[in-house]
């Protein structure tokens, strides 16, 4: 069964590309922004909010996206 998406692949690619251009120097911020994008792609705005809540509560490390990256 295909995964539900909240964003088209080409736009996702474009956003990623632009994020790299904007945050190219700040690797940590870039990874974070990409993680946010990933959350949105698979769960929409609510997933992003939940992701932020998890970060806020410390259930997920701030640097986890960096580490994963």
């Amino acid at each position: 069964m295909s995964e539900k998406r909240y964003l088209g692949r080409s736009v996702e690619t474009s956003i990623k590309s632009e994020l790299k251009r904007v945050l190219g120097e700040d690797r940590e911020a870039l990874m974070f922004a990409e993680k946010v994008l990933e959350e949105y792609v698979h769960g929409g705005s609510r997933a992003v909010k939940r992701f932020l809540e998890r970060l806020l509560e410390g259930e997920e490390g701030v640097g986890s996206s960096t580490e994963k990256g």
Partner: protein, 798 residues
């Protein structure tokens, strides 16, 4: 000229889908395909069926305008959509989707190579690859919904911007930005900063307390050090004293022994001077007294022993010894005398006891004796008054006889009196009557005589005499009876009277004996008392003599002890001084040791305070809070960076897309717009700064009219707006790279005349560079004006 795209629609079959209850088959050719039909005939539903066939969803489903079940015709139990499409150089594929209200959805793809796939994920991925589009991109390029057209034409600038973003697929950037809200993070940071500030304050307070305690510890340690040095010096002094005290070993005991002896002897030799003459004189006085005592005690033998005694200084002790012996004998005899007196007293007590018992008995008998004597006196009184018993009995007998006689006389007198009363009455009536007793005649004189006799002989007098005699007789009888009773009583009490008399006699004798014993005891006691006084005086003299003799002996002994005591006292004073020094030093030692213990205890208390523990705890908590604060600030920083980055990305993507779309819009205007009033058209992005939201960018659609650029909505007609929006749509189609060789336009040019539409429709395929265009219209006559066109007519289902 761009190469035409590869995927083309060939056939669509629908059944039970939206308004298509029955099966309908639509075939599509290359070039222009126009679907003509009135409102509600299924034009838009056909485009929805194509999207559903490719992606299993629709614009309305994705936005939850309706449910999947709503796709099914109201009279059907399920739907079926089949889309056949040709992929260049490969052949015709078909995708079939069947959805039943009770069985869910099934999908099949058949490839030109005879393969069939029915797994949804594989099918979706295959179709996405073949089209080069996902559903989002499809809806933003191949099949733009007319809702967007309306919003773009008539919406506000911000709505228009969001719609354009949505069509460009970059509305997600805006949504992500909005999701990256730091308000909660900042609120949490503020809370934690508050806690951190409190913890820092608490830490500072604890630090101050800790420093205070450390200062106290340092002071206590110094104080302990000083005390320990002092303690060492005192111990040293104490050792010196102990060493010196060892020289006086045994002194204390010896000193106290001598001192006691000295004090005893002092007391013994204290007082006036003692000489031998006084002792001799006292012994002479004792001899005289002893002589008197011995005579009184009738101890002639002992008295003879006193006769030859010579009292001199050299015989004093022998005389004292002899006196003691004689005095002992005198005391013994004195004791015997005393014992005899005690015996006599015992006898006296016995007799007194007997007397008491006798008197008790006599008192008990006294009522009987009293009674006897009272009876005796009463009897005597009766004899005197009535005579003896014999006289009394004779008188009683006589009175009895006389009484009987009088009673008979009285009875006769009564009878005669009654007869005479009868005769008197009868005589009064008859003048003469016969006596019923004697038969004699009684005349009227009888009545007169009767009255006179009545006066002479009174029956009442006889009866009074009888009564007096009766009383006398009763009295005498009672006296006789009482005499008998008194005699009986006297006989009964006679024995007790005898005992009483005997006891009374014995009491008199005892009283006499007691009197004699008392006299004897009094005399003996007087004598023994006198002897006792003399003996006590002799004893006192003997004691004095003995003490004086002992004192004479002790005086010599005392002089020696006095000398020794003086010497020991000197040493003892020195010893005592040393002992006092020792006690003082030991006291100081204990005091210092106590002070040291107290200080050490205070020190332990200071070091064990909870301050350090709390300091550590608060410090640890502060570290945790600061770590959390850093983490949140890092998070805030990252979120802000990300949000700013997304805002930047939004602007960049907008600008990047805008240039391409704007260029294509200008091309569409130049080639398809038949008039000259709109000189140019452009889509641009402008940025503005909002104090609350920061830097923002917005789209601006402008048209150049009369040499001046103005916002397209301000000066253009609805038809002109529709055309520009269609140009914009086409720009979106061109903006996305994909494999779709077709475009679907749902009523693209409302409010536009037929000529204008013909111009647009006939050239749109070439402008876009696609091989197939599917568009819907309500205008049937447009079809007849176009040449090689596949026209599909739809009728409204009634």
């Amino acid at each position: 000229m761009k190469k035409e795209l590869a995927v083309l629609l060939r056939r669509v079959e629908v059944e039970g889908f939206r308004c298509f209850r029955d099966k309908r088959v639509f075939d599509f050719k290359d070039g222009l395909n126009i679907i003509v039909g009135p409102v509600g005939s299924g034009k838009s539903s056909l485009f929805e069926a194509i999207e559903y066939g490719f992606f299993g969803t629709t614009f309305g489903l994705r936005r939850r305008v309706y449910r999947r079940e709503d796709l099914v015709n109201v009279e059907s139990s399920g739907l079926r959509v089949l889309v056949e499409f040709e992929v260049e150089d490969e052949g015709v594929y078909s995708v079939e989707r069947i959805f039943t209200l009770d069985g869910g959805e099934k999908v099949h793809v058949r490839t030109p190579f005879g393969e069939t796939f029915s797994k949804k994920s594989i099918v979706d991925e295959m179709l996405r690859e073949l089209l080069g589009l996902d559903v989002f991109e499809y809806e933003r390029s191949v099949s733009i919904n007319h809702v967007f057209l309306f919003l773009l034409t008539y919406g506000s600038p911000s709505t228009r911007s969001r719609v354009i973003d949505s069509l460009l697929g970059i509305d997600a950037v805006y949504k992500i930005m909005r999701s990256l809200n730091v308000a909660e993070i900042r609120r949490r940071i503020k809370d934690i900063e508050g806690e951190a500030a409190y913890l820092r304050d608490r830490l500072r307070v604890l630090e101050e307390r800790r420093e205070g305690i450390e200062r106290q510890i340092e002071e206590k340690l110094k104080e302990i050090d000083v005390k320990k040095r002092l303690l060492s010096e005192v111990k040293k002094d104490l050792e010196d004293v102990d060493r010196r005290l060892s020289e006086f070993k045994g002194l204390d005991e010896e000193y106290h022994k001598v001192r006691v002896l000295y004090e005893i002897l002092s007391r013994e030799v204290a007082g006036r001077e003692i000489n031998v003459e006084e002792i001799v004189l006292e012994l002479e006085r004792i001899r005289v007294r002893l002589g008197r005592i011995l005579n009184a005690l009738l101890l002639a033998d002992e008295a003879e022993r006193l006769e030859p005694v010579v009292i001199r200084e050299d015989t004093i002790r022998d005389v004292v010894k002899l006196y003691r012996e004689i005095l002992g004998a005198a005391w013994n005899t004195y004791e015997e005398f005393s014992s005899n007196i005690k015996y006599l007293k015992g006898e006296l007590e016995k007799k007194q006891f007997l007397l008491q018992e006798l008197e008790k008995r006599i008192i008990e008998l006294e009522p009987d004796v009293e009674e006897y004597r009272r009876a005796e006196a009463e009897l005597e009184r009766f004899y005197k008054k009535y005579g003896d018993e014999s006289t009394l009995r004779n008188e009683v007998e006589r009175l009895g006889f006389e009484l009987k006689r009088l009673e008979a006389k009285n009875a006769l007198m009564i009878c005669v009196s009654r007869i005479r009363r009868f005769l008197a009455k009868e005589v009064v009536k008859k003048k003469e009557v016969e006596c019923p007793v004697c038969g004699n005649k009684v005349s009227a004189d009888f009545e007169k005589k009767f009255r006179e006799d009545r006066k002479k002989e009174s029956i009442e007098n006889v009866e009074r005499e009888i009564e007096d005699m009766k009383e006398r007789l009763e009295e005498l009888k009672r006296v006789l009876k009482e005499i008998e009773e008194l005699k009986v009583l006297m006989i009964e009490k006679e024995d007790k009277l005898d005992i009483y008399d005997e006891l009374s006699k014995r009491r008199e004798e005892l009283l006499s004996e007691i009197q004699r014993l008392r006299s004897e005891i009094n005399e003996s006691e007087a004598k023994i008392r006198e002897i006792g006084v003399e003996l006590s005086r002799v004893e006192g003299g003997m004691k004095l003599v003995t003490e004086n003799i002992r004192r004479l002996e002790r005086i010599g002994e005392f002089e020696n002890i006095k000398k020794k005591y003086s010497e020991l006292s000197r040493k003892w004073a020195e010893y005592k001084q040393l002992m006092e020094n020792k006690a003082r030093l030991e006291d100081t030692l204990r005091k210092i040791e106590t002070e040291i213990k107290l200080l050490e205890k205070e020190l332990a208390g200071l070091s064990s305070r909870d301050v350090l523990a709390e300091y550590s705890e608060v410090s640890q908590r502060l570290n945790e809070v600061e770590d959390e604060l850093n983490r949140l600030k890092t998070l805030e920083s990252l979120v802000l960076k990300a949000r700013n980055a997304y805002r930047e990305v939004q602007t960049r993507l907008r600008m990047e897309k805008v240039n391409e779309i704007s260029s294509f819009m200008r091309k569409v205007l130049a080639e398809l717009y038949p008039y000259s009033d709109i000189e140019d058209v452009r889509l641009s992005v402008f940025e503005r700064f909002d104090e609350r939201k920061g830097r923002q960018s917005m789209y601006l659609i402008e048209a150049k009219i009369g040499g001046e650029w103005s916002v397209f909505s301000s000066k253009l007609s609805d038809g002109q707006k529709s055309f520009i929006m269609m140009a914009l749509f086409l720009g979106f189609f061109k903006n996305i790279k994909h494999n779709a060789g077709f475009i679907l336009l749902d009523e693209p040019l409302p409010n536009i005349d037929v000529v204008f539409k013909e111009r647009v429709f006939s050239r749109i395929k070439d402008i876009l560079g696609v091989r197939q265009v599917l568009l819907t219209t309500q205008s049937e006559d447009i079809a007849s004006r176009l040449g090689d066109v596949n026209i599909i007519f739809l009728k409204r289902l009634e």
